[in-house]
């Protein structure tokens, strides 16, 4: 079976002042269309590096990324990224931030009116219609991240890449955004690769959780299929024995089998 997104024997070495540092060793992962995959692991295990390689922002030293049968080696909007700290342009409003992306991608393909409708549609998806013309420093962290997601969705990506999208948010805002994301996912059925270090988030959102072993030379440790029916509701799941088993599995992997070494190796996130 040929996968939709194939992370094919990827290894990554960085040049550091103290010589070469091998961050990833032979990472191999096949992702199906419409699948929601989380990468989880201790910080410094190279999960962000994997995401950056899929995005094309880093070039793998060995191996490569194949998307729908074509190798990709540079960044592009079909692999839209939601960055951890929103990375909105601070001088543009929410609407203008999405507009910048839409104008670039649908130049000549959509009319002006269609673009406007598309921008507003995507901001409505993330419940930001009330603050279209606010600038990033006028809205909260959660709202900024919503706009960031709207911008990524507006690129109509084949694969949506999310780098700890909710990592910098407080718990309540985070759970709101997770609910929003599940709601969007139910309708759009995007292929999503998400980095997280939050076990609950991974189990709640994912179809599969990829647990990464510790670096240096990190690799895929274990893959856990999450076979929970959708739509999922966090309150109902709290009493679900399967949910708790999955949670325990991930925790066990992270804290028993791959406990963080006492002496941290040089950190490459």
């Amino acid at each position: 079976m040929s996968a939709h997104l194939n992370i094919d024997h990827v290894s990554m070495e960085f040049d550091t002042p103290s010589g070469k540092f091998k961050a990833l060793e032979n990472v191999n992962l096949k992702i199906k269309k419409g699948e929601f995959v989380s990468l989880i692991g201790h910080s410094g295990c190279g999960k962000s590096t994997v995401l950056n390689i899929i995005a094309g922002l880093y070039q793998a030293t060995q191996g490569g990324i194949v998307l729908d049968g074509k190798e990709v080696s540079e960044p592009g909007p079909e692999r839209a990224v939601v960055f951890q700290n929103h990375s909105l342009f601070p001088w543009l409003t929410a609407y203008e931030n999405v507009e910048l992306a839409v104008k670039q991608i649908f130049k000549g393909k959509k009319s002006k009116a269609e673009m406007k409708e598309w921008i507003e549609h995507n901001l409505a998806l993330v419940h930001m219609s009330h603050a279209l013309h606010k600038k990033p420093d006028e809205i909260s962290g959660g709202m900024k991240q919503r706009v960031g997601i709207a911008r990524a969705l507006a690129m109509e990506p084949t694969v949506l890449l999310m780098d700890e999208p909710f990592g910098a948010l407080d718990a309540l805002t985070r759970s709101h955004l997770q609910d929003s994301l599940m709601e969007i996912q139910r309708d759009l059925k995007n292929t999503v690769v998400m980095i997280t270090h939050d076990v609950d988030e991974a189990v709640l959102l994912s179809d599969r959780i990829v647990m990464m072993s510790n670096g240096p030379a990190a690799s895929v440790g274990e893959i856990l299929d999450i076979d929970l029916p959708r739509p999922r509701h966090r309150l109902e799941l709290a009493d679900n024995p399967m949910y708790n088993k999955y949670r325990a599995d991930v925790l066990r992997f992270l804290h028993e089998r791959h406990a963080k070494p006492d002496v941290p190796s040089s950190k490459v996130a």
Binding site: F83, S87, F89, A101, K135, M155
Partner: protein, 336 residues
């Protein structure tokens, strides 16, 4: 929003408005004393010290002028300007009448229209100085901003530019001027020159001295753009040009304006020296001419020029601050 509450937003009016409204008067009066009373008192004290110090120094041109003499000289300069304006008006009136009469006698007669060539007055000298400094400043910005952007984008170019910037930044305008004068004389040769050579020399000297702050600040602003924003540009596959226009330039705008504000300040300071030596008919030449003139009024008139230069410098800085506030998205960068 009504006018009263709008006025309340302005810091200068706020206490007055509140006093009128009757909001805890005592505190508002205190605010007024601190914000207005203290500066006024300090200025009065300064005038007092100046006055008594001036009386005790006698130069070959007489006593050093105190505040009141300087005020007299300022009035004198203004009267000269008024008188000159009247003369000019009369000159054109006479010319008009003369030519009209000629044409009435003989419709085919050739009449001459001459421009009035009277003495240069103080307000004209101020305008010349402003015109010169802005020419130099705009030329400097046109070079420094693009060059700064390129320098900020490329580490290699940054390494290349750094020693050049460091060496030329501290050079005094007085050192540049002879070279600029010679180069302008050699290169700018024309029978009917659009600009005076003295003007070109002064403007170029201003440019050479004031481009550095803009160049450095632009480069720093560009090189400190968050890498996340550049990654967004990469994901969107922005072309090099639209990356500059849509991402790099707007993120560096606050720093560019900080640099330009410093540049205009340096330019204004340098201009006076440049005008003195280049004999560009602005405030610098006014000071020099008064010094050479050596009448009993000279020191007072030079003091008027000193105060004018200071006040205009302050206005220019204020103007740049307003521009910076208007164009900057990062309000925290404006406070400097």
């Amino acid at each position: 929003m009504n006018v009263v509450s709008k006025m309340e937003d302005l810091r200068i009016f706020a206490p007055w408005v509140r006093i009128i409204k009757g909001e805890n008067r005592r505190e508002q009066v205190n605010v007024l004393l601190r914000s207005l009373g203290v500066p006024i008192l300090a200025f009065a004290l300064f005038l007092g010290i100046w006055d008594s110090a001036a009386k005790s120094v006698v130069t070959s041109l007489g006593q050093v002028p105190g505040p009141s003499q300087v005020f007299e000289q300022a009035k004198g300069l203004w009267q000269e300007y008024r008188a000159e304006s009247v003369k000019e008006e009369k000159f054109y009136e006479r010319q008009e009448k003369r030519n009209a009469k000629k044409l009435a006698e003989n419709p085919d007669a050739t009449v001459k229209w001459r421009d009035y060539r009277g003495r240069t007055t103080y307000p004209q000298q101020i305008l010349t100085s402003l015109y010169t400094v802005f020419t130099g400043f705009i030329l400097a910005s046109l070079i420094a901003v693009p060059l700064g952007i390129l320098t900020g984008l490329s580490q290699t170019l940054n390494n290349a530019m750094n020693p050049i910037i460091q060496i030329f930044k501290p050079v005094s305008p007085l050192a540049w001027l002879p070279i600029v004068t010679m180069v302008v004389s050699a290169v700018y040769v024309s029978d009917d020159p659009m600009f005076e050579k003295s003007f070109v020399t002064s403007a170029i000297t201003v440019m050479l001295c004031c481009m550095w702050p803009t160049l450095i600040n632009t480069a720093v602003g560009v090189s400190s753009i968050s890498s996340d924003l550049l990654n967004v540009a990469k994901v969107l596959r922005l072309s090099w040009w639209s990356k500059i226009i849509k991402v790099v330039l707007p993120s560096a705008i606050p720093m560019i304006f900080t640099g330009m504000r410093m540049s205009l300040g340096v330019g204004w300071m340098v201009l006076i020296a440049a005008e003195m030596l280049a004999q560009n008919p602005g405030l610098g030449k006014f000071v020099w001419d008064e010094f050479q003139n050596g009448s009993s009024n000279s020191l007072g008139r030079i003091m008027v020029a000193v105060l004018t230069i200071g006040f205009i410098g302050f206005l220019l800085d204020w103007m740049m601050l307003q521009l910076q506030k208007y164009f900057s998205w990062d309000k925290s960068a404006v406070s400097r």
